[in-house]
Amino acid sequence: MKHTAAFISRRDGVLLAIIAVVAIAVGLRAPVFLTLRNALDIANDSAILAILVMGQMLVLLTRGVDLSAASNLALTGMLCALAARAWPGMPLPVLLALAALIGALLGAVNGVLITAFSLPPIVVTLGTLSAYRGAIFLASGGAWISDHQIHPLIKGLPRETWLGLPALLWLALLAVAATAWLLRWRREGRELYALGGNPSAATYAGIPVNRRVMMAYTLSGLFAGISGLLWVGRYSIAFTELAAGYELTVIAACVIGGVSIAGGIGSVTGAVLGVLFIGVVNGALPVIQVSPFWQQAIAGAVILFSVALNARSQARGGRQILETRHMATAGAAA
């Protein structure tokens, strides 16, 4: 069990160190960055990203990718906002269930297309990326659902505090814990690693590949759907371009966290650190007041740098099969 029990791997350690260095460096320039208040802001800000990353990670493990996650988020958010406006009596659990259901359905559509027709995931989700986005426009007629039209329950949810911590954070922790549990303690989770690592071997080993792939996309959709409700609540707005392009941030967080694009490799710890990294960098940029023109270039350079660094610390140590001459002769003498 050693390899999985090692909770913080070497590359996770490196990433954690980088995050600490960035945080301290920013803190030196803007002390406000190192306050509890700011930490909570970053945590709050990262919460939705963390939920999305958990779903994306499941998909990446299967050698797939879900480019439609942000569109799914926006569509589900919009549909929930519309539903809550139409039936204001809906209680919160029903709203949450609705978001989960819509999101899971949209994710399942990806899954069906990928498994039933053995299509490459990148193609399918590139298609649904635009298709879901367009559906928002059709559903809302292109109009905004703005602050005063958003149901107070939706707006209230992200602002709630439970046991002293923001509700958003609790929900993110729940998503992370559930994913960790699935990947560590359930057969289904282990099988995701297996089939991502070697898909044809997975068939020979009797893993129901299609069912597992379906599961991964459905869960990714479900997480995206819940994120949609939270997003709409947090920013109390829903419109067609909501979270446009956010899928790249989600994938970047996964990759920085060491989840392999090629499937079969990745840990929840790493992914959470990836989220934290993006959260810290995003939180730092407005505070250290770099020129806005520089922000994107810095973000790009930071991604490249951390990925390159990851790759280095991930490089396998050589297997020592060679016996030194000294040992060989000593052995012969014995």
Binding site: H3, W185, E191, A194, Y204, G206, I321, L322, R325
Partner: protein, 534 residues
């Protein structure tokens, strides 16, 4: 001779892949406690049969009867549930998971209350370790598979088969990657299975193994069973004739010793972790064997010669001139050719047609192109490529529907022939063959040996890396033995006797502990009962 009723019977099984009629009416019966040898040439349909039995493919026609009941597996899991497990020809491994998880994938022991059942890691690792110990694997069950060698992976597969409540165990060339000592362990394992009443289906191209462990045989030719009988009433000649539909006399050609001057000189070839201080010469017209146990570092050394192994130091001279080899193109330009051991990963390009695979090396490098003239400048010539492919298909008797068939549609052995053919088109000066007969049938083996003989007769030099002792002993003029990255002995043909070579390779000559300590029961040939998982 068998009184007990058959456990598993096949009736008139058919399977087609597009135009290929891979199985055309196969009948066979498996009896508990007996091992049935399934033999046949490459592409006869053996692996296809295995895939039908394990639910990977569905048969087009015919029936599979288990205990007299017709079965139709929905998927591989269903077959496993019915008690049919297989060690497949191509390794079925998950690199990022541990050995234990590979053994138990899809059926991990669980614990905890209903609805919240979780994997019982402790129990799984414990049971996996037992299964591994029983096959004599000297590594921990928690080792990630990516750190293991090919042979060690095969041991895991066998452990996987053993740890299931199997009633039928199918072994599709399980020993192809094992070395002598490990194969002997393996015989013990098969005996253990039989004594527990398991029906074993054994597929191999090595006749000594068939005679050692099997009770009956079925010969498959062109997808149909052409003969069956008891092992003790058969001899090798007979079986070979049945398989090939013709007689095959002595499979090892005689290669006269016509060594010329030194062609290649290697001095102090070293690698930080894989091998150290290799010194040898290769003469024109010589076959130089490299023998060793799996993981001895032979392949790594050959990769180094081809410029595929970074971080290597040492001096390599060709015709007295120092070679600078930084990448394969350099080596190929100098006239080296390398047939790698991992056919599907390193050798062939599965989606490419047979023709394009054969022409690839000739078209790959800068100077290489001028050798066979498959292209005019950068422009391809379809006619010439086709011509080369046709010549090679004929010369190596490659069995395929045509030069345009994708390589993935060929049987393992025929794939290997294509990979060898690729290099012959280049007219190299030195050919390095790494386990060239792994998984290929007698007929094809004979063809490969014939080829080797022809090559040296033309003044080529051949390095033959092999884990098959008879091969090196019959063919190689000189044999270098490697052990754990070191060059430990050298024998010339005639003076070499099997015992001495094996002793050198395993370190037993020098008082070295063997790498795989075997459980006493296996040595004693006693019944062996693996502890089984739920």
């Amino acid at each position: 001779m068998n009184a007990s009723p058959p456990l598993l019977s096949l009736r008139g099984l058919h399977k087609r892949f597009g135009p290929t009629h891979a199985l055309r009416g196969v009948d066979l019966e498996l009896v508990p406690g007996q091992a049935l040898a399934l033999i046949g040439e490459n592409g006869a349909g053996k692996s296809t049969l295995v895939k039908l039995l394990t639910g990977v493919y569905a048969p087009d026609e015919g029936q599979i009867l288990l205990d007299g009941q017709p079965l139709r597996f929905a998927n591989a899991q269903a077959a496993q549930a019915a008690g049919i497990v297989a060690v497949h020809q191509e390794t079925v491994m998950f690199d990022e998971l541990s050995a234990a998880e590979n053994i138990f994938i899809g059926r991990q022991p669980m614990k905890g209350p209903r609805g919240f059942r979780v994997i019982d890691w402790a129990r799984m690792n414990r049971e996996a370790q037992q299964a591994l110990d029983q096959v004599g694997a000297g590594f921990a069950a928690t080792t990630p598979v990516r750190q293991l060698s090919l042979a060690q992976r095969h041991l895991i597969e066998i452990a996987r088969a053993l740890s299931q409540q199997a009633r039928v165990v199918i072994l599709d060339e399980p020993t192809a990657a094992l070395s002598q000592a490990e194969i002997r362990d393996f015989y013990g394992i098969v005996q253990g299975l039989k004594s527990r009443g398991v029906a074993v289906l054994f597929i191999t191209h090595k006749f000594d193994e068939i005679f050692a462990v099997c009770d009956r045989y079925v010969v498959l030719r062109d997808g149909a069973s052409v003969g069956t009988g008891a092992m003790d009433k058969a001899n090798e000649q007979q079986l070979v004739a049945l398989m090939a539909g013709r007689k095959i006399e002595d499979i090892y050609p005689h290669v006269p010793d016509q060594r010329g001057e030194v062609l290649l000189q290697v001095r102090g070839l070293s690698h930080p972790t894989e091998f150290d201080g290799l010194d040898f010469e290769l003469h024109r017209g010589e076959i130089l064997g490299f023998y060793g146990l799996v993981g001895a570092g032979r392949s790594e050394a050959m990769l180094a010669l081809m410029g595929l192994n970074p971080g290597v130091t040492g001096n390599v001279k060709l015709d007295g001139e120092t070679l600078k080899i930084n990448e394969p193109a350099d080596a190929i330009c100098a006239g080296l050719a390398y047939v790698p051991e991992e056919r599907q990963r390193q050798g062939g390009i599965l989606p490419f047609s047979v023709m394009h695979n054969i022409s690839l090396a000739a078209l790959a490098g800068p100077r290489a192109a001028s050798n066979e003239r498959l292209s005019r400048g950068p422009w391809l010539s379809h006619a010439r490529e086709n011509g080369l492919a046709a010549r090679m298909i004929e010369r190596l008797r490659i069995k395929c529907a045509g030069a345009e068939t994708p390589l993935s549609g060929l049987s393992g052995g025929n794939q290997q022939k294509v990979v060898i053919a690729k290099w012959l088109g280049l007219n190299p000066r030195i050919v390095i063959l790494d386990e060239p007969t792994k998984g290929i049938d007698v007929g094809a083996k004979q063809a490969v040996y014939q080829l080797i003989a022809e090559m040296v007769a033309q003044g080529l030099a051949v390095i033959l890396v092999s884990s098959e002792l008879p091969e090196v002993m019959h063919l190689a003029h000189r044999t270098i033995v490697m052990r754990r990255g070191l060059q430990v002995a050298e024998f010339t043909r005639g003076e070499a006797d099997a015992e001495a070579i094996v002793a050198a390779a395993s370190g037993l000559d020098g008082g070295h502990a063997p790498r795989h300590a075997l459980p006493a029961s296996v040595h004693a040939g006693k019944a062996y009962t693996p502890e089984l998982a739920a």
